[in-house]
């Protein structure tokens, strides 16, 4: 048999049929659901008298639209009636169709992309979909994980298959040792800066090389999370011993002989040595410095010692981004002052992120220039773990607010938003106009860079702390 990539192997193993129109039906192993992109899909099922084909493969949780402050009143505590209706609708739909849901007051509730891996719902070699573009996160486990639209959510519920076409293979290799203070977030932002936000379009990216192998599972999730920001539908890392150890003994993962059988299968999924890729990039880990975005697209990124672009007259896109961001051409990144700090989102809200950020803050106070700094753990269980390690106390005594799990200020559908023209150092993944609040200004950074910025009220080089 010819040499195949990890993506080729998963593709082949999930091929169900070729439809007459030339598209492929790909079998879906896991389907994650949240309140924002599912109501219209459930309506569609009802209208067509359909039910989920494999209800046991579906798990739901509310995350985008939930308050991160007081949860004591459960759903009744959601002040915005439209947000509340959306969460109630999710409950009703899950109840009606028998879908397993981690409800708002369940300690397992959290951002879909955090709870999937945490619960062992996400496993290597699987096809995973969710009506959310950052589903690419789950590719960290060597699964093929893709964001889909609401019509596709309905289609997958009804048929357990996705109508799709084979994408091209892209390899991104990072070899060598990352500098101290440089994280998976910096790696993924660096890559987007190099290949652009459309660089991965129509491709599935496989990340490889010694620097990627050395990342923790949480780091790999951060890396794959932003594959979509490079235009790719999915990003993946080959599963290895680290992956198997991580998934072992999680609530939803296979046990006993099934687990051994699974590991044997998972270990066979690695890209064959002579498999070919349609596109290949290779970078040296040591080139990567802590990254900060300065514009309104994730590709508008610089490193901490750099400046925002100096010449803008001939580039309308850069000019309009700097206008929106309220930055003068040539400003040093280190001179940019911020108003808010947000540590959270499916990119960086896992326990390691919180541990790393809290280390910077031990015994320190945030600058009085900071109007608000919040930490939003990715799930109720991450929150609980952090509290058992005393991380909440470190954050709180430094001046951060300690919140409940959800997407929060990553997209500000709930009350956590930037005010007009406020500037935020954010560990999320999108710096689009208005993303964190109407006319708000977002700079994407790693959790330790966000923590460092909180101390001075402006960006600083975390390597110097």
């Amino acid at each position: 048999m010819s040499q195949r990539t990890l993506y080729d192997k998963i593709w082949d193993d999930h091929f169900v049929a070729q439809r007459e129109d030339g598209s492929t039906l790909m079998y879906i192993d896991r389907h994650l659901i949240h309140e924002v992109t599912s109501p219209q899909a459930f309506d569609g099922l009802r209208q067509n008298s359909l039910i989920p084909r494999q209800v046991g493969t579906v798990v739901a949780t509310p995350d985008h639209n939930v308050p991160t402050t007081d949860r004591s009143k459960d759903i009744e505590g959601i002040k915005d009636p439209i947000s509340k209706l959306q969460v109630v609708t999710l409950n009703d739909n899950c109840d009606e169709f028998g879908i397993n849901q981690f409800k708002l007051n369940d300690e397992r509730q959290g951002i879909v992309h955090v709870i999937g891996p945490e619960q062992g719902i996400t496993l290597p070699g699987m096809t995973i979909v969710c009506g959310d573009s950052h589903t690419s996160t789950h590719g960290a486990f060597g699964s093929l994980a893709m964001g889909i639209g609401t019509s596709e959510v309905e289609h997958v519920l009804a048929t357990q298959c996705l109508v799709t076409q084979k994408q091209k293979n892209m390899l991104i290799e990072i070899n060598g040792q990352l500098q101290k203070g440089v994280t998976a977030k910096d790696v993924t932002m660096f890559i987007i800066g190099k290949i652009g936000t459309a660089g991965g379009t129509e491709h599935v990216i496989e990340y490889a090389g010694s620097a990627i192998e050395n990342l923790t599972m949480e780091g790999r999730m951060t890396l794959c999370n932003m594959a979509i920001e490079a235009g790719a539908r999915a990003g993946m890392v080959a599963p290895d011993e680290k992956t198997f150890d991580y998934v072992a003994n999680r609530p939803f993962s296979p046990k006993g002989s099934d687990f051994d059988k699974a590991v044997k299968y998972w270990a066979s999924l690695k890209t064959d040595p002579d498999a070919s890729f349609n596109a290949t990039y290779s970078f040296e880990a040591s080139e990567i410095l802590p990254q900060v975005t300065w514009g309104t697209s994730p590709e508008m990124v610089a490193h901490i010692e750099d400046c925002v672009p100096e010449t803008i007259e001939d580039d309308k896109t850069v000019k309009s981004a700097l206008d929106y961001m309220g930055l003068k051409p040539g400003t040093k990144i280190k001179d940019i002052e911020v108003d808010q700090i947000f540590i959270g989102s499916c990119t960086n809200s896992r326990i390691e992120d919180l541990r790393a950020a809290s280390k910077i803050l031990i015994g320190n106070k945030i600058s009085n220039k900071i109007k608000r700094a919040i930490v939003v753990p990715g799930s109720g269980l991450v929150k609980k773990q952090a509290e058992s390690e005393g991380l909440d106390e470190i954050f709180k005594s430094a001046g951060f607010e300690w919140r409940d799990a959800g997407c929060s200020m990553c997209l500000g559908m709930n009350p956590d938003q930037l005010k007009e023209y406020e500037r935020c150092a954010s560990t999320s993944n999108r710096n689009f106009e208005g993303r964190q609040g109407y006319k708000g200004r977002t700079h994407l950074v790693s959790p330790i860079m966000a923590a460092a910025a909180s101390l001075e009220g402006k960006f600083m080089d975390v390597r110097e702390i």
Partner: protein, 213 residues
């Protein structure tokens, strides 16, 4: 819903790269639990000078008269032409629902965000990729001659704009048929019911941890 082969009408250009779905329909409108009524909020932050919310009345809005879709010349357009990587970012299908509700049934760009591109066809919106050169030619023709007439021949895969050589485009057969025939996608897939069942029986043995019922 079937579409006819010919789409004719008027176009407007948004000469900007990387227009993400957060711009097409900002987050506060994703709270909707239906597909309808999002047209008034299409490009909300660009179309209005005040902050919008779901249900805010048009009469209460401050219109940004500089924005192309607010210019009287472009009233009633049904084709939107934008620069590369249109619809990148979030998977929100609300972006397509908003375009459609506004009256746009064709979008043309040199490249698209993948998920947005798929979402278009699922809703009967034709998304066409053309080369950057063709795109620049169209932008120029609109600017210089205030051109807005356009005709798209889906069967023959051609875009016709006065003063410009007709532009050929590629489209997958399944997407083309989907638009022309107005296929019920789920119904079509369910014709493969026995293949799906066979596949499930196979993986129950091969990978028993997938379907643990």
């Amino acid at each position: 819903m079937k579409n006819s082969n010919l789409y004719s009408g008027e176009f407007a250009c948004l000469e900007k790269a990387n227009i993400d779905t957060d711009q097409i329909i900002p987050k506060q409108f994703l709270k909707s639990i239906t597909k309808k009524g999002l047209g008034p909020y299409l490009f909300d932050a660009w179309r209005y000078n005040d902050e919008g919310y779901l249900g805010k009345k048009l009469a209460d809005r401050e219109i940004n008269s500089d924005f192309v879709l607010n210019k009287s010349d472009y009233e009633g357009i049904n084709v939107l032409i934008a620069d590369e990587n249109f619809g990148c970012g979030s998977s929100r299908e609300h972006a397509v629902w908003a375009l459609k509700d506004f009256g746009i049934n064709v979008v043309i760009a040199s490249s698209f965000g993948d998920i947005f591109f798929n979402n278009c066809f699922k809703n009967g919106v034709l998304a066409i990729k053309v080369s950057q050169e063709s795109l620049n030619e169209i932008f120029k023709e609109q600017k210089e001659n205030l051109q807005k007439q356009i005709e798209i021949d889906l069967i023959n895969q051609k875009i016709k704009i006065p003063n410009i050589k007709s532009i050929n485009f590629d489209i997958d057969d399944f997407r083309k048929n989907c638009l022309l025939e107005g296929l019920d996608d789920i119904g079509f897939s369910l014709k493969y019911e026995s293949e799906i069942t066979n596949y499930e029986n196979k993986i129950k043995k091969l990978r028993p941890w997938i379907l643990n019922d």
